[in-house]
């Protein structure tokens, strides 16, 4: 079933019975996501039943949101705990934003993605939309993009997601570069929330946002959320490492998946002149199969930048529908994570000890320990998926070297990006 988004300022709808997969509801207040109701295979809920569920499960985040809104001057006792009160989080944005979608031979889903991008609630002159067509085998993507005036189509011949991202950075004309994927449907508030966060947190080089599932039709999609999904909670978090005091990044922030994902991330454009572009040896389309976003998050913190997670910047991600694709995806997660660790250890010798500890610990705690648990309690999570990630993790250790050679060959064949 499609994910249902409700906002508590509008009247609650009733929930239709789940005919396919599971029914989840994203609960928002003042457009800010505050919680997820996992209704499962529900026979449907009336509006008042839904209201009761929300009051049961989301009372505290709602109260917290309202209490935070009430801070600072406009606390009116009678207004306290009223859902319709003014929310100070909706300041008018001024920043200019380039939205970049990197895609490769997936024209079918691209239209949904572009429809959502055209419907953004943001002043038109302040936003630029790019589609980077990465080493396409036909003209289908170009044909889809041609239907959307105002979307710039750019072809990047070097295969690899990070080549495409770097091309987007070079082509971007605006101050903030926001990345999303072709299997993502962005919320109409997405760019507004990103821009607001950059304006509020002046030190932020990178802002990541909330990724919720678009639909939970199949077992694979529910399993992916159970595996961890992409969502990282409903509160803003500001991350920074005290580089001046010699604090290391890897011990607490080496597992950069906790910050978010490449499907929903944005950077100030000057970030890249400060800390460099994406590593073209990483991410989809290379032997490393992923990790480009993880590595960039790490580099932002390691170079003394600030990274902010802002859940109001929400996008819906179409998780892969069938089980085999999920298995590949999870295996690639393992490869990408360990390839990123190898890359980070090579780039930053002072972090090597901490990265080694992290790699060993993660292998035990996430891969081996989960596998042992699944042997005792088979219902917890499918063993073959855990095993796929374990295999991928081990393979990932050697993939970065291969990916470097691969990137060098591409560079030799196509020349450098200008």
């Amino acid at each position: 079933m499609k994910l249902i988004c409700i906002d508590l300022e509008s009247p609650l709808p009733s929930i239709p019975p789940a005919t396919l997969g599971e029914q989840w509801v994203l609960v928002r207040l003042h457009r800010c996501p505050i919680g997820m109701l996992k209704l499962g295979r529900t026979p449907g809920l009336t509006a008042s039943e839904l209201g009761r569920r929300i009051a049961d499960e989301c009372a505290w985040p709602i109260a917290h949101h309202l209490a935070v809104d009430g801070l600072g001057g406009d606390t009116n006792v009678d207004e306290f705990m009223r859902l319709s009160r003014a929310c100070p989080r909706g300041a008018a944005p001024r920043a200019t934003v380039t939205v970049a979608v990197c895609t490769r031979n997936r024209a079918a889903g691209l239209a949904d993605c572009l429809d959502a991008l055209m419907a953004l609630d943001y002043p038109a002159p302040l936003v630029e939309r790019l589609v980077i067509d990465n080493a396409p085998s036909d003209e289908s993507t170009a044909n889809v993009v041609a239907r959307y005036p105002g979307v710039r189509y750019i072809r990047e011949p070097r295969p690899g997601l990070d080549w495409a991202r770097n091309r987007a950075i070079r082509e971007a004309r605006h101050d903030i570069v926001a990345f999303t994927d072709d299997d993502v449907i962005v919320d109409d508030q997405w760019v507004r929330a990103l821009a607001r966060t950059f304006e509020e947190e002046r030190d932020a080089l990178c802002v990541t946002g909330l990724v919720v599932p678009d639909a939970l039709d199949s077992r694979a999609q529910v399993l992916f959320e159970q595996y961890g999904g992409f969502g990282r909670g409903f509160r803003r978090a500001v991350y920074r490492v005290d580089v001046e005091a010699g604090e290391r990044t890897a011990p607490h922030h080496g597992g950069t998946g906790k910050f978010g994902t490449g499907a929903n991330m944005a950077f100030r454009r000057e970030t890249f002149s400060r800390i460099g572009l994406f590593d073209p040896a990483l991410d989809v389309g290379t032997p490393a199969n992923g990790g480009g976003d993880l590595e960039m998050f790490f580099r932002v913190l390691k170079e003394g930048g600030t990274l902010v997670y802002e859940p109001c910047a929400v996008v819906r991600h179409r998780h892969c529908h069938d089980y085999d694709a999920l298995k590949t995806k999870i295996r690639n997660n393992g490869i990408g994570f360990y390839a990123y660790l190898v890359r980070a250890a090579q780039a930053y010798p002072d972090e090597r000890g901490a990265i080694l500890r992290l790699g060993v610990w993660w292998m035990w705690w996430w891969n081996v320990r989960r596998l042992l648990r699944a042997l005792v309690r088979p219902a917890a999570f499918p063993r073959d998926l855990i095993l796929a990630e374990l295999r991928g993790s081990i393979a990932g250790l050697r993939r970065y070297a291969a990916a470097r050679r691969h990137a060098a060959r591409i560079l030799a064949a196509y020349g450098a990006q200008s």
Binding site: A63, H64, A67, V68, G70, L71, G72, G73, T75, V77, F80, M81, R89, E200, E201, R202, D203, R235, R236, V238, R240, V241, D242, E244, A245, G246, E247, T306
Partner: protein, 441 residues
């Protein structure tokens, strides 16, 4: 040398009823401690790991919300439910503030400046006690504050000094503060407000660090500081009697910020501060905890009122944290021995023979198992201080026998009858002072 991740800590205060702005001037500070006020009442603190960068208004807003939302909600509801107010304290009740000092002119000046800025409808008297008379240092400061009275106490020891101030003071309520605190606006009325109830004999307040600029200041605050938290509480005689182990009067506050009904010093069951305890004596501290003990034993109520906070400037030198902890540990044992010998309280034995060793054992085990980062050498310092306690108390008692006791407290209305006009102040023990080497030197 690389700067530290943990100090200095910027100390800021935010009123949530005012427009909330971000905090900018933080380039020197890896951390920030924000004390949160709601309509003037102190409700808690929030630590933000800002890594030497400004804190934006939304981040501050959320940090306060994350840590204090529940208290803010409770207070907002309380305002609607209209909790019945306690009986107000009559404006006719007079107050004396006693500030003992010894050659700390800068601290004293700051302290007196802040006291001068207090606004109160009642008669307020300020008594400065010079515990190191003979130099012009303290008189030179007090000369600039005509509203303050200066008296001298030659016998060294904080208890002697405070007692001399109490005996001279004429107020119905006597407030004890240290010379290294400064008081915020409105402090006086918040501290004396609980005396509107007849059973309240003493009120203690919160003590906040005015700055956390150096490692020793931060470590002292991390060790526990002087404050006792943000929640108001009160204890009374039934609480005192119901305790099976020693009554933890050391959790009630300190005379760095405390107020007493003057009548309690006249009560023979309570009396003044024990001269053998306290700073300037070998015991080092605990004179206030022993006074709280006597007040509770006499069946009265003590209120901890965190909204009546003061700012305290923690000592700066790096050796002083260790010395201070050593003194606390010494004074702690001296206090228990005093309750044992003076009041025949067997609960002191339970504390000394059982709970105290257990505390250290647990702390050491936790440290060795790496469950805590409490330094082992501090644990050893504490144990050494404890072992030195009995000897320190014996030394202090001998010294008090030589110096003689403080003058007895007499109610102001009865003083004229007692004293000849010329001898309005207690005779300073000058004959002793000549032969004594000051322990503070």
């Amino acid at each position: 040398m690389k700067p530290s991740r943990d100090w200095p800590i910027a100390v800021r205060m935010i009123e949530v009823q005012d427009a909330l702005r971000g905090i900018d001037d933080l380039t020197e500070y890896p951390r920030t401690r924000v004390f949160v006020l709601d309509a003037g009442a102190l409700i808690g603190s929030v630590d933000i790991h800002n890594c030497r960068r400004p804190i934006s208004a939304p981040r501050l807003r959320q940090a306060i919300g994350d840590w204090q939302a529940w208290r803010l909600m409770k207070r907002a509801l309380q305002r609607q439910i209209a909790v019945t107010a306690e009986p107000p304290l009559s404006p006719a009740v007079t107050v004396s503030i006693v500030v003992p000092t010894c050659n700390r002119p800068d601290d004293l000046r700051r302290c007196l400046m802040a006291l001068r800025a207090q606004r109160s409808a009642r008669a307020v008297e300020i008594v400065v006690v010079d515990n190191r008379p003979g130099t012009a240092i303290t008189p030179n400061v007090v000369r600039d504050f005509p509203e303050a009275r200066l008296i001298e106490e030659h016998r060294p020891g904080l208890s002697y000094a405070r007692n001399a101030g109490f005996v001279e003071a004429t107020g119905d309520i006597l407030i004890a503060i240290d010379d290294d605190v400064t008081v915020p606006a409105g402090w006086l009325e918040r501290l004396v407000a609980p005396f509107g109830r007849a059973d309240v004999m003493a009120v203690t307040g919160h003590v906040l660090p005015v700055e956390l600029e150096t490692e020793s200041q931060c470590r002292f605050e991390a060790y526990g500081g002087l404050g006792k938290g943000f929640a108001r509480f009160e204890v009374d005689g039934s609480w005192f009697r119901s305790r099976r182990t020693a009554v933890p009067t050391w959790h009630l506050g300190a005379t760095a910020n405390a107020a007493f009904r003057a009548a309690c010093f006249r009560d023979p069951a309570i009396g003044l501060l024990d001269e053998a305890l306290g700073a300037g004596m070998p015991t080092g501290c605990s004179e206030d905890t022993y006074l709280f003990y006597r007040i509770l034993k006499a069946g009265h109520t003590i209120v901890y009122e965190p909204t009546a906070w003061v700012w305290h400037r923690h000592r700066n030198d790096s050796s002083s944290l260790r010395n201070q902890i050593y003194a606390y540990s010494k004074g702690h044992v001296a206090y228990h021995l005093t309750t044992l010998m003076r009041d025949r309280d067997p609960r002191a034995l339970v504390r000394l023979g059982w709970s105290l060793p257990k505390v250290y054992l647990r702390r050491a085990v936790e440290r060795l198992r790496r469950r805590s980062d409490y330094p082992l050498d501090l644990i050893l310092t504490e144990i050494a201080g404890n072992l030195a306690g009995p000897w320190a108390l014996w030394q202090a008692r001998r010294r008090v026998r030589r110096f003689g006791p403080s003058a007895a407290y007499v109610l102001p209305s009865e003083r004229l009858l007692r004293d000849a006009p010329a001898a309005a102040r207690p005779a300073p023990a000058t004959n002793h002072a000549v032969s004594i080497q000051s322990p503070l030197a």
